[in-house]
Every structure is written in structure tokens, then in C-alpha cells.
């Protein structure tokens, strides 16, 4: 089913790093695209499912995002950092757009992202997930809930303030404090 792109004698697609796979995708290598899908589809689908709470809609987002990578691999350039991180953020953004029944905006995917993790490595990815969950679990409940409402439910700070009865400034501070705690925990 996959076409030979003449790149013989190279390591199997599954063991290559993201940049090599993207280069192959740019040349139309379907096997390389399948490898990227295998590597990151779980994260993309899980984030979309968390936001949309509907498996069919989450799969739509999954298909849409990976087709975007297939059609425009060049749109993900090295300065954007980690492909896995980018896909996770874009999955969230697309899902929120779908939740609001809003057309995806171009700026959504124009995400430059600084991430120190090699998310292509499954062990490192799993380790990062566990650490992040542990940090989030230890946050004060209000901070945790506010960040969750903003990120996964796509509620604006005004909407959150209205729902919780907290002042706008408090909502903003809680979101920022929560993310700073997460950042510091990984810098330590």
C-alpha cells in the first residue's frame, strides 16, 4: 500500500525522529505519516475527547489535524519546537473551536512552542505525563478547577468568574499561578 520513495538503507520509519518523518511526509511517504499517526494519535484523540466528551467528534478532530500534517508538513517548522506538544495544543484549540461551533482561525495553528521534552520518545512522554498529573493534583483545588475550566472547557475568564462568583482578577491569577507552578516543577 505504501510507495517506495527510494530511501533505502535508512532506519525503519517508526524509529526515526519527528523531523526525519516530517521530511519523508513532505516527499509523500505514507509509511512515515502512519508512524507519526501511531506516535501521536493517542494524545491528540485524548485531548479532543477531554474537551468534546464525544468520541465521534474527537475522531473528527484527530483526522482533521493529521490530514493537515499530511497536506502541509512544511507548516510545522523546527522553530515550533516539539511536534507532540504542538499537536496537543492544536488538538485542544480545534476542539474548543468545534465546541463553540466556530471556524478554525489561522492563528490557532501558528503556535511557536518551547518545550524541553522529546515527546517522540514514548517513555519520556509517559514520564512527563505522570509528573504533570502529580503536579496538577497537588495544586489548590480552586487553581486546578479554574485552569481546567479555561483550558479543557474553553471558558473565558468572564464566564468562569460568573460561574464561580470569583472576581475576574482572581480568575486570571489562578490560571497563571497554576501554569507557573507546573513550569517551575519541571524546571526544578
Amino acid at each position: 500500500m505504501y510507495r517506495d520513495t527510494g530511501m533505502q538503507g535508512l532506519p525503519a520509519a517508526t524509529t526515526r525522529d519527528d523531523a526525519s518523518l516530517l521530511a519523508l511526509v513532505q516527499r509523500g511517504d505514507e509509511q512515515a505519516m502512519a508512524s507519526l499517526f501511531d506516535r501521536y494519535s493517542k494524545v491528540v484523540y485524548s485531548v479532543a475527547l477531554r474537551v468534546l466528551r464525544d468520541p465521534a467528534s474527537a475522531e473528527d478532530v484527530l483526522q482533521e489535524i493529521f490530514m493537515q500534517v499530511w497536506r502541509h508538513p512544511e507548516s510545522f517548522i523546527a522553530t515550533r519546537g516539539s511536534l507532540g506538544g504542538w499537536l496537543a495544543v492544536v488538538s485542544r484549540n480545534r476542539s474548543i473551536d468545534q465546541l463553540r461551533r466556530k471556524k478554525p482561525t489561522d492563528s490557532v495553528d501558528d503556535v511557536a512552542l518551547a518545550s524541553p521534552y522529546n515527546l517522540a520518545d514514548e517513555a519520556e512522554r509517559n514520564n512527563m505525563m505522570e509528573r504533570a498529573r502529580a503536579v496538577i493534583h497537588l495544586l489548590p483545588k480552586e487553581q486546578r478547577k479554574t485552569l481546567e475550566m479555561a483550558f479543557f472547557d474553553g471558558l473565558t475568564h468572564s464566564e468562569i468568574a460568573e460561574m464561580t462568583g470569583d472576581p475576574l482578577g482572581t480568575v486570571k491569577t489562578r490560571i497563571r499561578s497554576a501554569l507557573l507552578t507546573l513550569r517551575k516543577a519541571f524546571q526544578a
Binding site: 502512519a34 494524545v43 475527547l49 516539539s82 506538544g85 512527563m128 496538577i136 483550558f151 479543557f152 501554569l179
Partner: protein, 312 residues
Amino acid sequence: MNTPNNASRQIEPEDLLLYAMQLLSAEEAAVVALHLQHNPSMREELARIQGDLATYAHTAEMHSPPALARTRFLKHVARERKPVPMLRPIAAPLQLPQNAQQAAQTKPEETEAAAPSIGAYQRNTGGAQLFSFETEAAKPRVMGRIMPWVGWAAAAALAVTTTQYYRENETLKGEVASDKAQIDQSTAEAASAREVLNAMNDQTAMKVTLRKPFAPVTPMGRTTYSAEKGVLIFTATNLDPIDTFKVYELWIIPANGKDPIPAGTFHPDAQGFANFVLTNLPKGVEAKAFGITVENEGGSKVPTLPILMTGA
């Protein structure tokens, strides 16, 4: 948040974060975008925030996508195939069946004059061409010499295409078999789940509540509730008989202080036993407590006091 009128002011870090999460209004986002254009350090901070958000996104509970999602995706990819560049070196002169002698005597300058773009391109690419098409300038002379080979080339292309179709056919057969296995497994799991539900709702099934000897018999209800999935499982024992045209009704008391949510009506059987499963409750409603009231047949939208049983 600053307005466009004072766009020259510093953007607050909290607003940059909201911008990253796309939670600002279009007007507010435009102001931040304007600042970002002229502020490299702010762009760096935005990249760090996106990195933090990527980390946070990974805290979502992980679920594998449906097995067929991969098949669907790859079919979609196959439908949108790209032109495949060929990385074959073509530094060696082209071997043609006719006028080979003449071709060998042709001066390099003449060859390049006939096909300037190919020669120039080969120099630029170290003798390797990236795509297998030729320039228009080279066509007339080359076409005359290669025409006799077109038939053979067509036959070879047909053979290659046939082989490719055969391989794709074999691959598709494998995928169909894989899909069938998945469907069989899903069907078996669904049948098993249906059996469990049937057993729970079977009036003739034996229902026994175990307790210590001589312990007092008291009505008891138990809920298992997943707010995230909107699913509730309820069982009750030793409930008092209820008047005709009356039902027991279960209520979810939301943690956010909103009105109680009706979560199913039920009649206990002759032994005071009742159970049911609800899978269509609103998702994401955290519960502070649960309660049971008696309502008229058909249930109520608001609980009628007193609350007979409660639990938190």
C-alpha cells in the same frame, strides 16, 4: 486588558496567557498580536506558555482512538497522494537505441543548448535531478527517438500498475479481515454488557442482601456516579412498599449549588429491591450529594419534601 487606544502599554502576563488559550475577544487578541509583532521577548514568553499548555494538555486521561480511525486516516491519505519525487542520479548519459553514435559525437555544448535547463539543473544539483519530468525545450528531439519504446514503456507501466493493484488488494483484504475481527470483538463485548444489564433488570433473578445475623433491616441505597461520563448506577435494598401511582425518585444535588437534577424514578420489588443504570445524564456535573423522594407517577422536575434518604 488594554484597549487599542493604549496599545503601547505593557501587556499583562495574565492576558498573554489568555491570548495563548484564545480566550480573549477578537479586539483584545488584536492588541496582543500587535504587541507581539514588535516584542521578541514577549514572543519568547508566549512560546514558553504554549510549552506549558502542551505539558498541561498531556494531563488529560489517555484513550486510544478507535482501531478503525487509523484505517480511515490511511485511506484518506492514500486518496490524497502527493507527487513522489525521485532521487535517482542521472549523471550518466542517456542510452538511446537509435543514433547512439551520433549522440556520442555530439558536443556537450550542443547538448546543453538543446536542453539548457536540464544541464543547468544537473550542475546545480550535483548530477541528481529531483523530479523526473523534462523541459519543453528538450522535447522535440528526444520524443522522436523514444517513440518506438513507448509501447514497451506502456507495457512495463501496466505490469507495474497491475502489481501495485495486486499488492493493494492484498493489503485491503488484510484490513478487511482486521476490521471484521474488531467488529466481532465489539459485538461480543456488547452482547456481554447486554447480558449484565438483562440480569440486573430481570424480575425473576435472585436478589439477596447480606448482613450480620440479627442486624436491623434498614432501607439502603447505593449510587455509583461518574460526573465526567454522565453515568449513574443505582441499587437499593429494603425499601418500603410505595402507594399506587407513586414512585421513588433519585436526585443529584450539584456541587455548584444549582437545582437538584432528577436522576430516575423507580418502584421497588416485593422484597424492597430496586436498581437501574442511567447513561444519558448531563456530563460534567459534580455531585455534592444524592437524595430520594416520593413523587407522583411519572416523576417530578423538582423534589417534593421530605427527602426520605440522603447520602453525600
